[in-house]
């Protein structure tokens, strides 16, 4: 599971039928200093995350569970949560620092 920032959207009309109706986001994993890495991942998003929001991204069976369409679909990455608050080694930051942030 990764922390990543939503940095873009992807649209595709010519695709596997099992992808119909899913929203796809380009997300950028976070490094240990809280900065974005060079890598990008595309994740299906049932959570409605927006550009700039930090999200938790899962893979494989977990991703299929989050999307809720059972096992045999043509993707394996999904947003499973929108992060309210994150603390790294005692320092706190994030787009929702005014929220309660209870888990």
């Amino acid at each position: 599971m990764l922390v990543a920032t939503v940095i873009g959207n992807v649209w595709a009309t010519h695709k596997d039928p099992s992808l119909e109706g899913l929203r796809f986001l380009v997300v950028q994993p976070m490094d240990a200093l809280g900065k974005g890495t060079a890598e990008t991942i595309v994740a299906a998003d049932p959570m409605g995350a927006g550009i700039g929001e930090r999200v938790l991204v899962v893979f494989g069976r977990a991703a299929r569970h989050v999307i809720g369409k059972g096992h045999d679909i043509g993707f394996q990455t999904a947003v499973c949560a929108i992060i309210d608050r994150m603390e790294l080694s005692g320092s706190s930051y994030g787009p929702h620092e005014d929220q309660d942030g209870n888990s």
Copy 2:
């Protein structure tokens, strides 16, 4: 799931029988600036993607679903969509920017 650009083709006559009839593309994952990384991946392509097109690439069970031959075949990577349009942090680019690009 990754965004990648199709950069080549691979042909093999001496291969596992389960790979018979599949088309294999060399694809190059995209970094956070929209440029290609040093890494390459080979993906089975049931979508008919061409050189230079951007595609979504899936792995594992999702890839087996996209190819549609059930579970026990000798590959685990596939193209599941050809990208019409992609927006990164508000900037838009792609080989099909004149298309509608609805998902």
Copy 3:
């Protein structure tokens, strides 16, 4: 399986229902010299690890087993152990060097 150091916490209120009640840690994998890498991972933690502790992190089916909720849940990374002692090429270090450290 990786050795990683706990470097932070993540909170999310808007998340997949299967993540309810789980504690999420930001952990930083260790390199061959015992230092943290640039990469970060988020792991569900049923062990109660604290900031600065070294932990073993598992993925996939193993992670689902550690959390103990069966197979179809929306995550795939978990803390499975808190490390007492670690020796690299004969040199010993760790936050609990005074412990017995039997496995």
Copy 4:
């Protein structure tokens, strides 16, 4: 699935019984310019590939299928094809350029 070049062999007498009789190759993945990366992988090889040949390497369930011993064996990487011909962005190269290379 990766393109890799066979760069070596590995022998082991003290091993899991399920590995008995398998041939193991050290293979080096290829980057986007067609050069070898620093990484190496060990793959079981039922194809009879030789040093310097380019091969397709698969993982997980696909690898178990290629070896043909069912599911519960102690490896998860295999050579599934020997590459005849590869074209990257229009330029062609490979150890078998005189072959027809039909897929």
Copy 5:
């Protein structure tokens, strides 16, 4: 599957019950020149490998098979073989060069 060198041990008393009785090694993957990478992995070791020995490391279902405890346990990496001899591009080296090294 990776070639790695055993560089250390890990002990943990507070761990998932399914890890009870397993021996855990810190191993360092090998690059294409036969040198260790910066990355480290922790593997369960049923083979009895010692510090400095080269081993084959497997993941996922293969690792669960090697340990021999069935499917639902809290780890996914294991040593499946101790390497006798390895040849890279014709040059030979390894801790057991005097052995026969038949596979």
